[in-house]
């Protein structure tokens, strides 16, 4: 055992988690600081007028201003409430798209014939711009009397299912030939091979896809707000702010910022789930 230096140190995990988060959060914070400096630096250096690029301070000021009419909430609160509305739609689409993606991946795994027949259409579906798809979905669903939010959910799901299908299919096929041979030697049935080998082996691939899908579902939900004639949502806020850009430029930047943060927040949520589910395995894969 002596030269086989054990690398297992019990009780290493909890501080490891804190350190792992710090290791990721600190560079991100650094980048944000740098960006803010660039923003103000560029304004100063190129003498960009406030009308084209407001001061960061002006954005904060706008954030904390009261909305005219309505509830008289802080603008940032109103924006966040709208972002939450978009998030609910995005999350619904994400859940449905993930379910559909998983289903397709399992079907393609079991029936390579179907994969060869259907995969080209699945890929083709993603080459059509979402700006063209969204109105079609809205009109189509509207005709059968579905509520407006349903169309937005469908568009979000439409952008979600593709990365999940592709990533999950790769993941389900990622088990090594040797690990499959072992299962065979235990005379495992197909269900056991699926649940005890293929599925757990696929999880790292699945989470990579889910992170892409999370951002995509937010984009889908935002884009669909326009043709769906939504009354609330961060996309609606962006359009409003754009309309009144001349009188209040910072509001548009604020709306865009919050839309971006929404995508990041969703991504982080998936990353957290990933850490909880597969984090403990560590990175090294055997030989």
């Amino acid at each position: 055992m002596a030269s086989d230096a054990p690398r297992f140190v019990p009780g290493e995990a909890p501080t490891g988690a804190v350190r792992a988060i710090a290791r990721r959060a600190l560079p991100a914070l650094g980048v944000v600081t740098l960006l803010l400096c660039c923003w103000e630096g560029a304004k100063l250096l190129f003498a960009i007028p406030d009308q084209r690029l407001p001061h960061l301070g002006a954005i904060v000021e706008t954030m904390l201003s009261r909305t005219q009419g309505g509830s008289g909430n802080l603008l940032v609160v109103q924006m966040l409430a709208n972002a939450w509305a978009t998030f609910r739609i995005a999350f619904g689409g994400f859940a449905i798209g993930t379910g559909l993606g998983l289903l397709l991946a399992v079907i393609f795994l079991q029936a390579p014939v179907l994969e060869r027949g259907l995969l080209p259409y699945v890929i083709g579906s993603q080459t059509v711009p979402i700006l063209a798809i969204a109105p079609m979905v809205v009109v189509g669903l509207g005709r059968i009397g579905a509520p407006g939010w349903a169309a937005r959910v469908v568009v979000a799901a439409y952008l979600t299912f593709f990365p999940v299908t592709i990533g999950m299919l790769r993941g389900l096929r990622s088990a090594s030939p040797e690990s499959l041979s072992l299962m065979r030697s235990y005379a495992a049935n197909p269900a056991q091979t699926f649940w005890k080998l293929r599925l757990p082996a696929s999880l790292p691939y699945l989470f990579t896809s889910l992170k892409i899908a999370a951002s995509a579902s937010v984009i889908g939900a935002i884009v669909a707000e326009l043709p769906a004639g939504a009354r609330e949502g961060i996309g609606v806020m962006i359009l409003n702010a754009a309309q009144f850009y001349n009188s209040r430029p910072p509001a548009l930047y604020l709306a865009i910022l919050i839309a971006g943060l929404l995508g990041v927040a969703f991504y982080c949520l998936v990353a957290l789930a990933e850490y909880l589910v597969v984090g403990r395995r560590g990175r090294a894969r055997p030989g």
Binding site: P6, R7, R184, K196, P286
Partner: protein, 258 residues
């Protein structure tokens, strides 16, 4: 030899590949007795893994017949007669070491406490008693391979198929693992039959009752060399003149096989 546990009768194996058919094995006849430790040696690509995979029903022969315990390899596989160890440990990295060892028992539907107990006693046997709840990536290569051996032994298969199991280990670890393997093997009751693929000549001689020397293209059995070194084998065995003589004999045989 009394009734062989494994019997190859004029077996050939032809792979069809992009560049035309490849004859991996040609006219191989071989009988292996129950409880025997047999080493397969030969240059890369001479069909050692193929021979092992034919026994384990991971490939089908193109000609001739393979019988295992008077059954087809497929029936033997369904009866869970094989424990397999590859060159890579192939541990499932989402399971702890002990849950890896339990995996075959889990698939065979053994009760939970019995599984855990069996895994722990095997891990102690291979010197991993303290690492039951570690994850594979926390172990060194040699320790991972020990866990893989424990996993293969967990359901007490009557035949162990080992394809260059120590091939990725350093020389020092390797020699220690050879001794440990012999200890485990001779301590088991009943003793499993071991088919051990290697391309290390001293390893083959040190471990085996018989060394099967294979020749390349197409893979054939060149010669079967009985190893008349006494057991238990120890570190001193490697300094025995008889050991050197056998190593030389295998080496000569491999050279003339070219």
């Amino acid at each position: 030899m009394d009734t062989p546990i494994i019997e190859f009768d004029r077996v050939s194996k032809i792979y069809s590949s992009g560049g035309g058919p490849i004859t991996a094995l040609h006219d191989v006849s071989l009988r292996i007795a129950a409880g025997e430790f047999v080493a397969l040696i030969g240059p890369s690509g001479c069909g050692k893994s193929t021979l092992m995979r034919l026994i384990g029903d991971l490939e089908q022969p193109s000609g001739g017949s393979v019988r295992v315990k008077s059954k087809t390899p497929e029936q033997a596989r369904r009866d869970r007669d094989y424990g397999i160890v590859f060159q890579a440990p192939v541990l499932y990295d989402w399971r702890t070491v002990s849950r890896n060892v339990e995996l075959p028992l889990e698939i065979m539907g053994r009760p939970k406490e019995q599984r855990r107990e069996r895994a722990l006693s095997l891990l102690r046997l291979v010197g991993l008693g303290d690492f039951a709840d570690a994850y594979p990536h926390q172990l060194s290569g040699g320790m991972q391979q020990r866990a893989a051996i424990a996993r293969a032994l967990s359901f007490e298969p009557s035949i162990l198929l080992m394809d260059e199991p120590f091939g990725a280990l350093d020389e020092i670890t390797r020699e220690r693992m050879q001794l440990e393997l012999l200890n485990i093997w001779s301590g088991a009751n009943p003793r499993p039959t071991v088919i051990f693929v290697t391309h290390s000549i001293p390893e083959a001689v040190f471990l085996a009752d018989r060394v099967v020397v294979m020749s390349p293209r197409p893979g054939r059995v060149q010669r079967v060399i009985p190893v008349d070194l006494s057991r238990p084998r120890t570190y001193e065995t490697r300094e025995d003149p008889r050991f050197f003589a056998l190593v030389t004999e295998v080496r000569e045989c491999l050279r003339t096989a070219e």
